[in-house]
Structure formats: structure tokens, C-alpha cells
Amino acid sequence: MKAILSSEWLKFRSVRSTYHAIGTAALMVLLGVVWTFYVSTLADQRGTLRAAAPEEGFLPLLQLSLAVLGVLTITSEYTTGMIRTSLVTVPKRGALLLAKAEIVGLFTLVTATSILLLTYTTSRLIANDRRLGFNETTLADDLPMLLATALSVTALALVGLGLGAAIRSTAGAVVSVVALLFVLPGVANYLPPPWNTRVASLFLPNLVPQIADQRLSSRLGDGFLPPWAALAVLLTYPLVTLVIGYNALKRRDA
């Protein structure tokens, strides 16, 4: 397993797409800085205001770029044919997928946590003691939300990997991730109450506030799940998609 892991880690590091994805994800910090400067000048003119927190507003950038990274880890092998070369060197397909999952999981967790914390701290430093709405709580208050967000991004990247293994096409897997992240939760919002809250509570983006024990939104209210259950549902997403991906990898001819 250690041998396969070191190979997968080298595969991950030795292609440009990895760095493009990290670069895109890291844009979040930059956008957060620009945003905070902008709302700070507004606040200097008008006094206090209620601006959105950059680590929430620019979250889709982080989610999508790291999900694409997870998808590409396997679909780039299918589009280039490299998967056949890989499976000749590692005929145990489960071990190959597991190694990929470990690399994607660990790397995304570290990257997402760093980028979120960096976005958070730079924006608070720039805001200084202005009252911008998002900077009126302490790091201790916000930490559960930040960590839950990082965890959800990690789960999403692993979902990307699982879907990539099942679908084998980059475009197909990315579209599925987008559907899961943005389209389906949007649809659930418009179900008749109380079903909107019950169904929406189960979707990835809404699990984060429930884990951090916060409100979902004015429309959806407090959510449906206690923190531990929300965490369990969050972990179920990558688990289920990876099992589906593993089955496809195992059963189908390469």
C-alpha cells in the first residue's frame, strides 16, 4: 500500500492540472482581500454595514476547484488511457482507488483548511476595527463553521473522485458534482414546507451550518439534523460515491 501511495502522490504532483486547481482555489484569498478592501472603503464613508463574509461568499470557488481536482485524479487517467497502464502495474483495483482517495482526502483537507483560515485572517486583519458585519464574532465562534466547511470541501473532492471512477468522463463527473452542490439543493428549497427543510437538510452545502449548530437560512430555518447526525450524513456522501466508483472500477473492463 505504501508503494502505491508514493506512486499516486507522485502522479498527483507531476501534472500541471493539480497546480491549476490549487491556484484557482487560492484565488479565494485574493478575492477575499479585494472584497474586504472594497467594503472597508464603503464602511469608511457610511459607518457600519453588513457585508457577506468572504470565506462564505467565495466558497464555491474553493468547492469547485478542489472537486475538479478530485474528479481529475481518476478521469484524467481514463481520457489519456493511462488507467490501463496503471492497472497493469497495480492489478488490485481497490488498492489503486483507495490510494487515490487517501491522497485526495488528505491533500484537500489540508489545502481547504489553509485557504479558509488564510481568507478568514487576512480579511479580519484588513477590516481592523471597522464594523463590517462579518467581523463582529471571534475566531473561537467561527472556528467550528470553518472546520466544518473544510471538511465538506474534502468530502466533495472525494465525491468527485468516486463519481469520476463511476462515470469515467471529466465533464460528466463535474456536471454531477455541480448538480449535487448547487442544483439539487436549489430545487429542495422550493418544496412545500416542512419538506423543504427536511430534504434540504440532507444536501452537502446545508450540512455545514448544521454541523456547526447554526441556522441554515431565513427560508429553511434551523435545519433538521443535530450536529452529530449532520456529520454522519456528510461522511456518508464520499463513502457511498467511492463504493459506487469502486464497483464500477472492479466490474467493468478497463
Partner: protein, 254 residues
Amino acid sequence: MVRRAGGPASRILYRVIELLHLTKRYGDTLAVDDLSFKVEPGHVTGFLGPNGAGKSTTMRLILGLDAPTSGRALVNGRRYASLTKPMREVGALLDAGAVHGGRSAYHHLLCLALTNDIGPARVAEVLELVGLSGVARKRVGGFSLGMKQRLGIASALLGDPGVLMFDEPVNGLDPDGVRWIRGLMRSLAAEGRTVLLSSHLMSEMALTAECIVIVGRGKLVAEATVAELTARYPSLEEAYLALTAESVQYGAAR
């Protein structure tokens, strides 16, 4: 048969590829139909057949990339997928294009090598052997077909295996490269290895192989030595055309 000095006799005895009633069906098409033959060490075995005869499918079945519908393909007496360090027992070049174009030749080979606990020193060695040392740090995407073939041969040789399979390795090589492959195949066989080589170049095959296996429409058509075939027919090409006349599926009108 030449035995390598110092090697355990049992390992040499087991350097065989063995097909037992191997059958592969894709939907309505029988790609491989009850195919049984054995490839022995010490000489190059040529694997011939018209387009679509099932040569590549047979090799994919041997490597566990595709699952047989029935029958078995064994390497050294075992299923390929059950080998723990497969690269040390079997080396294969199926499709020279099955590489990620964004990776350098060196990184590509190292990714494969690491999975089987093969170090960077051996990677440098095989790069030297196939003549790609000078472009080792260049991206594979920019390689010509001939260079990709050399890279594929390098990956097959990484584990110094006793069994080797090459699917059309001569495609895209310059005359110099064709002669190099011929010498390489013959010397690998002379070292006591088992070499299965498919090609459509009959003149080349006549110079390289000692034994010939011909398949047509997934079935075994003939299994003979080159000497036997050239004794009965004017040339290997004539022998091939006469034997496969019945099983050409995609021929031009004559």
C-alpha cells in the same frame, strides 16, 4: 533454450503464458473464441492475425484489464491479477499512447516503478536502454509515436520481468528503431525470457520470431515454427495470407 546463470530453475520453468479455452464476448461479438495456446521461454513468439482477430483483446485478458467470459489466462501458472509485484514477472506494452501527456518521461516511469518498489536508478537505466535519456525531463505529450513506443518498452522492462508482451511495438519507429527492436526482442528471448510479440510486418516477424501463433476471428488458426511455415510456403507472408484467407473480416475487395 538459454538459462540465465544463477537464477533458480523453478522460476525459469514458470516463465510461460498459458491460455486455457479463453473466451471473451462483447455483446454479440465473440472477440476471443475458445483460445488455447502456450508461450514458452527462450524464443520470440510471433502473434499474428488480421485486424479485429482478437490479438489485443487476448493480451488485455492476459493482463487482467478485461475479464474473460470463460476460460483462463495464466502467467507463470497464476492469474495476472493475483500477482503481488506484477511488473517483476510480466512486462507489457499494449498501447504506447496510454500515458498522461502532461507528465515527463522520467516521472511517468517513476510513477509506474514506485508501485512495484522499483527505484529511480532502474528508471534511469531503462531510459538509457531505450535511448530516451536526453528527453527524460520532457513532457510525453510532445513525443512522436516512435518515442512513445520506446517509452512503452522502457516501462515493460522496468521490473526486469521474465515474461514480456508487446503489441505492435514497431509502429511508428524509424528503420534504425525497427532494427533496434528486433535485436532487443531476440536478446531478451536469448536470456531465457518468454516474449510474445504481435506485428503486421511479416518480413520483420520472419527475422525476429521463431514460433508463430496465428489467430483469426478470435480462434486459433495455426501454431507452428517459422521454419515449418517457410518450408511449406514460399515465405512467412504467403503462409500468413493463405492461413488467414478465411478469417479476414475487414479486407478490401480483391
